[in-house]
């Protein structure tokens, strides 16, 4: 089993770097969806014991959500909001990719120091999931468009989900579903808000969302 976990982890790392280096929004959505499918299937691979109905159910819902529904929602947002095809990073693609590899190195170092019981330490599964979390945060911070921030949130979420899976944290089925439902509603609401942002501003660049702040002494007219 551990061999296939390693393959999964290897692909997830490559996908992280691919998201950081690709300039087309559509590609990024596909990559995140593929990563979501892998993460969803991960729970079937890490188990040493028999695969139960419970595991299959959760994996099926996770794959359907991350691999099918989320990309559809995001593509719908692109179409309706008429989003351009460019990712528009604040940090250039080569530097982003370099940062991605750096995150992986940092995660390796961090996870070697984490107080996690040896039995649960599946090869380099923990550094990989940790670096996904960092990459997600990095995308949220360094990409201009609201849609790419949602993608960053999804990468972050994939990372945390995978982290939970490789640690073999077992939650009751209802709790697992509740968590997935929350993420689904979050992406759904974010999609709606993106649509409104586009209608209000004619594009979805978040650097225009900067009228509310305290540093400027003169503030715009504040009406109800």
């Amino acid at each position: 089993m551990s061999g296939s976990v390693d393959v999964f982890m290897f692909v997830i790392v490559i996908l992280n770097l691919a998201i950081l280096s690709s300039s087309r929004l559509a590609d990024c959505i596909h990559i995140v969806a593929l990563q979501g499918v892998l993460v969803g299937l991960l729970s079937l691979v890490v188990q040493d014991s028999a695969i139960t109905f419970r595991l299959i159910l959760i994996a099926a819902v996770a794959v359907a959500l991350k691999g099918v529904i989320f990309p559809r929602l995001l593509f719908k947002a692109i179409r309706e909001a008429d989003v351009g095809r460019e990712v528009q990073p604040i940090v250039s693609y080569p530097i982003s990719t370099l940062a991605g590899t750096l995150f992986f190195a940092v995660s390796l170092w961090i996870s070697s120091r984490l107080p996690i019981p040896e039995s649960r330490f599946l090869h380099f599964a923990i550094p990989v999931t940790f670096s996904s979390i960092l990459v997600g945060l990095f995308i949220i911070v360094t990409r201009v468009k609201a849609l790419t921030q949602v993608l960053g949130y999804l990468v972050l979420e994939n990372g945390i989900y995978a982290f939970g899976v490789v640690l073999l944290v077992e939650n009751p089925v209802l709790v697992e579903f509740g968590m997935l439902l929350d993420v689904f509603v979050a992406v759904f609401v974010m999609g709606i808000i993106i649509f409104h942002i586009n209608r209000e501003f004619d594009h979805i660049d978040t650097h225009l969302l900067s009228r509310l702040e305290d540093w400027r002494s003169r503030r715009p007219e504040g009406e109800a």
Binding site: P115, V169, M179, R211
Partner: protein
């Protein structure tokens, strides 16, 4: 059984979504809020005769305290909300005829989200499983985001986006905390159900200390974002100032508390496993930073709703500070939590009345509130005196208790620091509040031709104000008992 408290507002919210009639939504808003309060009182009395234990949901002392303040606060906000919605729809009708500045979201959407928001916050308070608490806290974000975007214009949109993204990321980090908590408990072979709170508390001594420490940091940062602890508070002033006043009142008075409860639950586990000093110090540290940052921003604030929002940051910081100190300070902290809920909600509701007449949130454009809005004007000034801790108010009592026990436990520096912050906040707020209350030139007063104030618009703030003043004079034995038990659970003595 206890799930009725969650189910009733949820069902009412869904019904409002389906029916989509204005009169129906308004009736449902008030009746569901009233039903919530009645159910809460019923379960409270039921609790006294021995708690029926369920593994998933029951009301412990902390939960009862938080739920009580939520329930009464929401009832007051709902009563005010009916009048608010009527005012907004008449304003919207005016706009249809001419200058279209912005539209409002449909009323059914507003009321439906409000009720589901109440249901999610209730779930946080009755749940005994940390995974369910996580789900519920994320659900509060999702239910309240459309509420902030009730007024459809660019600024509220910006506030909504920041709120949604910052809080979702924060809460995602809290999930990492939950996972670490689960590994910390994986040492116990028997009864492997790691995230049940009672299970964790019972096996606290076997938890792995390093894992628990990491878990607490993630939980504190994650839920602390939602609670408005600096430096993760950046969404809070935007969301509170752009949301409709009745929503700001619930956000400030109840939402911040429910996020704090998420932190307290893990703090309880830390205390039980002997790491109380570690987690307490961290809470204290972030509380102190919040107070300091809020004081700086209040001093130069030109927008009165943002000023109230920063005052919330300051007060949540103070509550965290008291909880972190431990000992007798926790009792004061819990009392402060109730007082702050009511006082801040009351101020936001009054701010809504002022906003409706002057149509601006800029302090310098509001003049002579005492003359134009005789009742709201007085409430505004009284509310300020209460929140800044003038003696007959509950805030004075709770701050006094915290600071006295800080002094008794040998933390004179914290006392000096807190008093300095309180003084700065007092100066910053009083300048703005009194500018707004007085100074009305004759023309300005003539321009604002308000035809008297509606009873519903001033009744809720008045009742909340009286409640805070009452708590300053006399804490009923039932409440005192509850506060003592809650404080003991949160590490006090």
């Amino acid at each position: 059984m206890i799930l009725l408290l969650v189910a009733v507002p949820f069902a009412a919210g869904i019904a409002v979504f389906l029916v989509r009639r204005k009169s129906f939504s308004r009736i449902m808003l008030v009746s569901a809020a009233a039903a919530h309060t009645v159910l809460f009182l019923f379960f409270c009395s039921y609790r006294a005769n021995g708690t029926p234990l369920s593994k998933w949901f029951y009301l412990d002392d902390l939960g009862t305290l938080f739920l009580g303040s939520l329930s009464f606060l929401f009832l007051a906000a709902a009563l005010y909300g009916v009048n608010y919605l009527r005012r907004e729809s008449s304003v919207a009708a005016e706009k249809d005829r001419g200058d279209d500045i912005f539209a409002n979201a449909p009323e059914a959407l507003f009321v439906g989200c409000m009720l589901i928001f109440l249901s999610a916050m209730t779930l946080v308070m009755v749940s005994r499983h940390l995974g369910v608490i996580w789900i519920a806290i994320e659900a509060t974000t999702l239910a309240s985001a459309p509420l902030i975007y009730f007024h459809r214009h660019d600024r509220s949109l910006e506030a909504t986006w920041k709120y949604l993204l910052i809080c979702s990321v924060g809460i995602a980090l809290a999930l990492i905390g939950n996972l670490f908590l689960a590994i910390a408990g994986s040492g116990n072979v028997q009864g492997y159900a790691p995230l049940f709170l009672d299970n964790l508390l019972a096996n606290a001594s076997t938890l792995s200390a390093p894992c628990l420490k990491i878990a607490f940091i993630f939980i504190l940062i994650g839920y602390g974002t939602k609670m408005g602890l600096a430096p993760m508070h950046t969404w809070l002033p935007d969301a509170h100032s752009e949301a409709p006043s009745v929503v700001s009142a619930v956000l400030s008075g109840a939402l911040l508390n429910s996020a704090f409860l998420g932190i307290l639950r893990v703090h309880e586990v830390c205390i039980a496993s002997g790491l109380g000093a570690y987690s307490g110090d961290l809470i204290l540290f972030f509380g102190a930073i919040s107070m300091a940052i809020a004081a700086v921003f209040i001093l130069s604030q030109t927008d009165y709703k943002r000023m109230l929002a920063y005052s919330s940051v300051e007060n949540m910081g103070f509550i965290a500070l008291g909880t972190g100190l431990g000992g007798g300070a926790v009792f004061g902290s819990m009392l402060h939590l109730v007082n702050h809920s009511f006082a801040k909600a009351m101020l936001f509701l009054v701010a809504g009345n002022i906003l409706a007449v002057y149509r601006t949130r800029i302090v310098s454009r509001v003049k002579g509130a005492l003359k134009i809005l005789p009742i709201s004007g007085i409430l505004w000034v009284c509310g300020f005196l209460v929140i800044s801790g003038m003696p007959p108010s509950g805030i004075f009592l709770s701050k006094f208790i915290v600071l006295r026990s800080a002094l008794a436990s040998g933390h004179p520096f914290i006392v000096v620091f807190s008093l300095a912050v309180v003084a700065v906040v007092f100066i910053g707020m009083s300048i703005n509040i009194f500018k707004m209350a007085q100074n009305g030139t004759e023309e300005a007063i003539a321009a604002g031709d308000e035809k008297g104030e509606r009873t519903l618009a001033v009744l809720s703030p008045l009742l909340l104000l009286l409640a805070v003043v009452f708590l300053g004079l006399y804490v009923p034995p039932v409440l005192e008992n509850l506060l003592e038990h809650a404080a003991r659970a949160a590490g006090g003595s």
